[in-house]
Symmetry: D2
Subunit: 343 residues, 4 copies
């Protein structure tokens, strides 16, 4: 942490801040520049408490130097984490392909989709049983019945099941049926839920909130990791920007950036990230070229009548074509999509 | 809803979409323009399901016409809602002033602050007992002990207590001590929590998420209202933008915009909205000039040692000065800050 | 400047960077922390060249400490600048009110508007003769004829004329007719134009670009100031964010922030900043409450038929009402709108 | 255009707006819904003038239906444009690779870089002679001397030269030396400059402004195209968002989106788009996977001492490796980087 004093800060103010820094158990190291004094504060603690120093007399700003996360950091654990569960493997050169409908609508729609995506090479099935919906008037999901349908689809196809959990009180129920618990973008900072998912024993797919910074995402992962769960996949699904021709802006530079900072695998969601079916395939291949460890996509037998997100869902045929181009790009990058052998 | 066909959409595609629209129980009204055909879909239903039409053959885009919220809408209820609880009144010309520490740290800090803000004219006390923190290594709040301290501060001063609830399972506990339940920005789309708070019988202060649109905020309010709770205060607390000289960007145009669309009162949080104590007073006055029905501010006996948010907390003296200018602006606008008579 | 080394940077890398820093004529001051080494670089130069140090071996990032602008800085010149030209005064407690049509369309429209806004208390007339338009198919302005009409309106009313210049080659022409040269948001970083306007001898109203940071705005002002022109007014007119219910997001916290950092006056444009006539009055008053030194607003005799920006233009009656509330707020803040005595 | 009336708009207001629409030479087509009336306005004109209808009595909003650009539209010209000049070809399956230093610093640095990038397979040389710099205290470029050095580098290597022009008065000079005129992001809406570049006879590389929408970018291209110049390359170089771990956010979904809407080729700049050398290679490959027709990258013999943008410049070795992965991805996508045969 660097405490930057205002130009013209008095010796008393500087002395006061040196004492504050030392009062926090840090070593204060003042540097008297030509225009300003800065005080470098040296020590291991990272707690936010210290930012309150910015209220001190004569202080211009406080600049943090250390990353706020620890367990997720590649500095702490240099080897890339690989998450494996059932048919799904994600990380360190293996690209997991997760596909399925936005919402589980009924048995037939779900199992047909599971078969189709498996046939095309997907390595896991996604599908929502508990749906967090912007509007209370929208379809809210089949809940436990949806979970049962997903489990049946796994029985039919051997595909691992990825599904969202939206509340602490549902974690046990969802964990009974699912292979991977998805924490949605709206809940990225629902810390109770993160802790509960962390304690469930199931791998967690943690989606980035639409206005979350990289540090905030990694700190959210840290809540899960600290609950004793090492199997966290980060998911980039787009951020809110001024762009309106896409539903969100999908910033693929997150992938190599995260690979530098963390050992956790990075999955990309080009369906939510773009909001238009025609943009999904190019962004899925681009994500793999940028180094993504997994892709999660929405697929529906007839997107036009989907109960949610039809506009961004691929048909079976579109998904098959998307898989082919993804496979070619993965090969070009020296990585591989492990074909699913189940069922 | 307007279904805009692509230039060159075939008569079969147009006919297909007309049938889709009618299949949803809407009346389809095609308009053949010089360059494109659009299909106006007339009817009352608002469900999102219909956006899936965007996947239809030959469709360029689907433009919604109706606002997605109902109960919150001023079209449905033209009279402004006034929320009253204990010493606090907010709405329709009365400006509620809510002030207090970011976190409840101990009895003395809280009660001293309550006395100071009451003395300066605040009409309610804020203070966090359950703290949602970006980092798992930050202070997480005193929990029930914090709630007891807040209740004690109310006993001492007569000020109504506003405090955050961060999980469904805590709603009953928090509602036992608090006068107003605050839903924080991170939880604006935690729908289970919105429903639980809606069922608590206590007024709700609902903060806008940092990337939420106005429609999303109003739909979140709709979750609370639909649980039978009419006492919802919306709170603008800033959005995430590229600006980094402030913690968030505080867009005060939300206030008159919301007043046009909804009957619910609008409170503004200039502490989180700016992240710098020196910017709080100007933005508090500006919010009142723009029509805010309430202001919520962070105040601390010694911000430099606050356990959270010290950089944006006012001292007692700064708060007193801020109250004075707010009062003058409210008067200039023909509105009033009701002085607290309690204690 | 602080050069932050990566965790695990080697002694050779640290030594290399110390030499690089000293090679730039700065004094290098290494600080060996528990996790990382940082090198404080002390000296007066601010040139961007130094950021290239970020490419050095073992470097994590380079954190600037000094503000990049000089002449605009309040640290350099503590007294607030007041810009005075003809009927207009802006700064240090005097709030200038600039109003008029988006585009000069014809003599009658312009002179009628000038009379109406003067009558209501405006202190200067705005109006565009050279119009930078997003679409080549939109009305591009009356050019020199428009300037002549503006000059005639000044003759009729005594109001100072503020008008935009969009190209270096037009600066002399525009300066012959105008009292203030406006640099539009699209041209905030058109450095040749800034220099030319700086050399014109006329005060400059410099609009913030919709994605410009505060530092970028102040550096743009520095281009004008360095051309020998001390009369620069900064203008906040809104930024591009994800919000779509307003044309731009108008971040009024810029006003007190800029007042802390610079001695230049700050004008606010609530017309472009909101894009809706109904939001202009609340945001004009809010801007004054937040400390704005001036307001610039669009007014048109019949907004519905305006050749540009009708949706955000006030009628004469709306402007009169807006002026009244602005005056009351200015008084509440201890500032004043100087009534125009001309004509 | 759809004029959406407010709920409860009176029959007189609706009739008034029908007349306004017809007064603009459009056919008005009112649709009386269950909650609101909308008026579809049919006709060919696109001028912005019509948005002023939003000021009409009882009007809620005006929704445009037609894209505002014409000549750039793929609807008007379905075949993809290929731009060819000297060693460079861009578009329709051919990926142009443009590389070179941010600034031309001297003969040796530029010619060495030209040789290195040609050797690695680049098809054109970039380099700035006129530098638009955020700070007046930064290096502003070698100007004509820089152009001469670029021309010498072309003589040495056969590489086509891409260089920026920042002012109308420089267009002739720059066009004498350059093969492609680059319009920088800051000047995307400098319409005079667009027109002058359009009239120069040289192909234009038009960079997206950091807060420009797709429509604004295409309308800027339209200014160049309308000046009689069909050889326009659009360049995505990142947008301003809340993300601070990258210099800008590089939204690759622009590529397939633009390919749907326009016949113009799309070039991507991963150097400015990320601001970190380590992120350039992944984003260059990702851009090609997403369909980019060209990549423009910064390369410097020793980035650590570059006079500008060192932090985002590749070394010769890094560039060679980046080219190899780009080539493999292009092949996987069925596209090709044409090897340069010159020199």
């Amino acid at each position: 942490m660097i405490v930057v004093m205002k130009r013209g800060a008095s010796p008393e103010q500087i002395q006061h801040m040196i004492e504050r820094v030392e009062g926090l158990g840090l070593k204060a190291h003042p540097i008297y520049g030509t225009e300003r004094t800065v005080i470098a504060a040296i020590g291991e603690k990272r707690d936010e408490h210290r930012q309150s120093l910015e209220s001190g007399p004569g202080v211009s700003e406080v600049v943090p130097i250390l990353a706020p996360y620890k367990v997720a950091s590649r500095e702490v654990r240099p080897e890339s984490t690989v998450v494996r569960v059932g048919s799904l493997a994600v990380g360190n050169g293996i690209v997991g392909m997760i596909a399925g409908p936005c919402s589980v609508e009924n048995y037939e729609q779900t199992v047909d989709t599971a078969r189709a995506v498996k046939e095309a090479g997907a390595t896991a099935l996604r599908g929502g049983a508990f749906k967090p919906r912007t509007s209370p008037y929208s379809f809210q999901g089949l809940k436990e019945e949806g979970l049962k349908i997903l489990a049946a689809a796994r029985d039919e196809t051997g595909l691992a099941v990825v599904t969202e959990v939206i509340a602490t009180e549902d974690v046990d129920l969802v964990a009974r049926y699912a292979d991977v618990l998805q924490i949605g973008a709206r809940n990225m900072q629902n810390y109770r839920l993160l802790e509960a998912a962390g304690g469930s024993g199931k791998p967690v797919l943690l989606k980035r909130g639409p206005s979350a910074t990289m540090d905030e995402l990694l700190l959210a992962a840290e809540y899960v990791l600290n609950a004793g769960n090492p199997n966290v996949m980060l998911c980039e699904r787009g951020i809110r920007t001024f762009e309106s021709h896409t539903r969100f802006t999908l910033p693929l530079a997150s992938i190599p950036y995260l690979h530098e900072r963390t050992h956790l695998p990075v999955v990309v969601d080009p369906s939510h990230g773009t909001g238009h079916a025609s943009l999904v395939a190019p962004m899925a291949s681009a994500a793999i070229a940028a180094g993504a460890d997994g892709i999660i996509m929405e697929v529906h037998p007839d997107p036009e009548v989907a109960m949610s997100d039809g506009f961004q869902s691929l048909t079976f045929y579109q998904f098959k074509e998307t898989m082919e181009v993804c496979r070619r790009v993965a090969e070009a990058m020296g990585r591989r999509i492990v074909p699913n052998e189940g069922g």
